[in-house]
């Protein structure tokens, strides 16, 4: 897997395209604390890219840089072959990047349907006047988007809780609703921050299946952070390993697994 390769086939027959997003020498500091130190990696079109590392390695900070919450002091973010200027999160969202959060960030006061519908906000364009009158344009747009949302709801098998307020749902379902909201935006790049945290084995299997299906059916590029090594090694095409804000490994799951630095970071090194 050389960077020069335009596209290639994975062992299971999916096509992975050229570079979609490239992080170049990103450094992020909070005062004297260096959260990310000179990290470069790329995300290719159609792949599942995992970011792993011990706690406090800077994985979530990296995701926050991609989604525009943090602005790195040094380094550049390249998206679709051009350098991305410093952007606010909502501008990043409009570029086709959606994400989920480590600790669920749903709108508790709204129903599941409304939550997923918010995922379509970037696509809904009617002005306030048209909406106030509702007839015609606004209603038509609402219906069109509702159809798209219902497809996502079907896909993630949450039809039965459509009208339930999100606050009443159990944890596993909330995670799924959050994924639905991100998917409703039809993103080109989907960022998942620990999609399986706090789940039991069965729920993890369900979630893994959904992630693979999303990648397979919609061709969505996925970057995910996850602590469950079994899941990461099974799902992802390539893995970035971070430790203390530095990149210590990058490559296919097998390459990463046999990387001495990675083993040291996870298992510790004998100091003699």
């Amino acid at each position: 897997m050389k960077d020069t390769v335009e596209s290639f086939q994975t062992p299971d027959g999916r096509t992975i395209g050229g570079v979609m997003m490239e992080m170049k020498h990103i450094t992020l500091r909070f005062g004297g604390v260096v959260a990310i130190k000179d990290i470069s990696f790329d995300i290719r079109e159609g792949e599942i890219r995992a970011i792993i590392g011990p706690n406090g390695a800077g994985k979530s900070s990296m995701l926050n840089v991609i989604s525009g919450f943090y602005h790195p002091q040094e380094g550049e973010v390249w998206f679709h072959g051009s350098r991305r200027p410093s952007m606010k999160p909502f501008q990043v969202a409009r570029q086709g990047i959606a994400r989920t959060f480590q600790n669920i960030a749903l709108f508790e006061g709204m129903s599941v349907l409304d939550n997923v519908m918010t995922g379509r906000l970037t696509q809904m364009k009617t002005g306030m006047m048209a909406q106030a009158i509702w007839w015609g344009k606004a209603e038509k747009e609402e219906t069109e988007n509702r159809e798209k949302v219902e497809k996502v709801i079907d896909f993630l098998e949450i039809q039965h809780i459509r009208k339930t307020p999100v606050g009443r749902l159990p944890y596993g379902l909330k995670k799924r609703v959050e994924l639905a909201r991100a998917l409703a935006a039809e993103p080109k790049l989907l960022l998942l921050d620990e999609p399986m945290a706090g789940m039991n084995v069965e729920e993890k299997e369900d979630m893994s299946r959904f992630i693979l299906d999303v990648n397979d059916e919609f061709g969505t590029t996925i970057a995910l952070i996850e602590h469950d090594m079994g899941v990461v090694m099974d799902l992802s095409d390539r893995v970035v390993v971070m430790d203390y804000g530095k990149k210590i490994g990058d490559g296919s799951p097998d390459e990463v697994r046999n990387n001495q630095d990675v083993i040291d970071a996870y298992l510790g090194v004998a100091h003699d």
């Binding site: 409009r94 994400r99 960030a105 918010t118 809904m124 306030m128 909406q131 209603e139 609402e142 219902e150």
Partner: protein
């Protein structure tokens, strides 16, 4: 038994997202409309109009407006009284003819008075002016939240009242500092001034109430409403799905202030007729409308009506009972009334913190199954 949703199937998405998806609700709504338009105007008299209907209708509009800001967008505001004053004074200027200073050809300033505008359009224009002022005072919301924002909007309240006390142009240089609504008609019927018919003013206000409720409902069920609610529930997540917080918050301030301004305009022109700003639009008014939406239910259009009805009807009811039925002295009754209203509010908020709208929702759940326990 009385309230059924069985057998009511939505087969299209528009059907599913309509305001009253359940047939029973829909018929009840039509029934209320028919009574309001076709029955009440024939039986209404001055007492019912001034004690109950006008305040209820006008406060409903204000409550809908504030509910959009506080209940739907989560931005606390204590400036309602001030914004109502903006509505009242701009309505006054529009209905008496705005005088503006223009630079003449020879460099001299000449005063030019626009012709008076029809009262209907004056009220709407007053709403638009208030919307602009609301956006201006909504700017701090981009930086501050919660209680701190409430304090910032309190500044709007005091500043606006002060402004309309001092700025003589706003009250047409009248000696008393008051504004008086001249006689104005709509469709050939007088709706402001000293000699109006009860049914005419009632229908005039009702029209605005229905209009406001429909517009507010449409806004809150579509994408604009979802943006507001997203900001309310979790602003970080709202931003990540593409909501521009600046536009969402300011649009909430604009729409909210529009309705509050319309209500202020009607409060002055149709209801009171003469207004002294500190008295009519003081801080008490801000709190009154805030209580209405808290008691009625935040984030609910029905709650705005319920809250307005509660706060308007309860004092009238108490007064009639204490003075009329029990024969207590008026001054004693007035004080007892305060105590009872206050105590009821406290009791009510402890028992049902989500307001009358929630009570209604619970009642509907129960009615669905009645007479069976589950």
């Amino acid at each position: 038994m009385f309230y059924r949703e069985a057998g009511d199937f939505s087969t299209t998405y528009p059907q599913d997202s309509q305001t009253f998806p359940i047939r029973f609700d829909r018929y009840r709504y039509y029934a209320v409309l028919v009574i309001a338009f076709a029955v009440v105007p024939f039986i209404i008299n001055d007492y019912w109009l001034n004690a109950i209907f006008l305040p209820f209708l006008i406060y409903s509009i204000a409550a809908i407006g504030l509910n959009i800001l506080v209940g739907y967008c989560g931005q606390v505001s204590l400036g309602t009284g001030g914004f109502m004053a903006v509505g009242a004074y701009s309505c006054y200027k529009f209905m008496t003819g705005v005088d503006i200073w223009l630079m003449g050809a020879d460099g001299q300033m000449i005063q030019y008075a626009l012709p008076p505008i029809n009262i209907f359009f004056s009220v709407i224009l007053a709403g638009l002016v208030t919307a602009a002022v609301g956006v201006l005072f909504g700017l701090p919301s981009l930086r501050i939240k919660g209680f701190y924002l409430a304090v910032a909007t309190l500044a709007a309240q005091f500043f606006l009242v002060w402004l309309f006390n001092k700025w003589e142009w706003a009250y047409n240089y009248s000696a008393s500092g008051q504004i008086n609504a001249p006689t104005r008609g709509f469709l050939g019927v007088d709706v402001t001034g000293p000699a109006t018919e009860a049914w005419a003013t009632y229908l005039f206000c009702l029209m605005f109430v229905i209009g406001s409720a429909v517009l507010a409902r449409n806004l809150t069920r579509g994408s604009v409403g979802r943006k507001w609610m997203a900001i309310r529930d979790m602003d970080i997540a709202a931003e990540i799905i593409g909501v521009n917080p600046l536009r969402a918050k300011l649009s909430a301030f604009a729409v909210s202030s529009f309705f509050v301004g319309v209500s202020g305009a009607l409060f002055f022109s149709v209801y009171l007729g003469a207004v002294e700003v500190g008295e009519a639009f003081g801080i008490q008014k801000s709190f009154l409308v805030l209580f209405m939406i808290i008691i009625g239910g935040l984030g609910s259009i029905f709650g705005s009506f319920a809250g307005a009805a509660f706060m308007v009807l309860l004092p009238v009811l108490l007064k009639n009972t204490l003075v009329g039925t029990l024969g207590w002295p008026t001054d004693l009754a007035a004080h007892i009334e305060f105590i009872i209203v206050g105590a009821l509010i406290v009791v009510f908020l402890i028992l049902e913190p989500h307001g009358l709208a929630q009570l209604w929702r619970v009642a509907k759940e129960k009615l669905r199954l009645w007479p069976f326990p589950y």
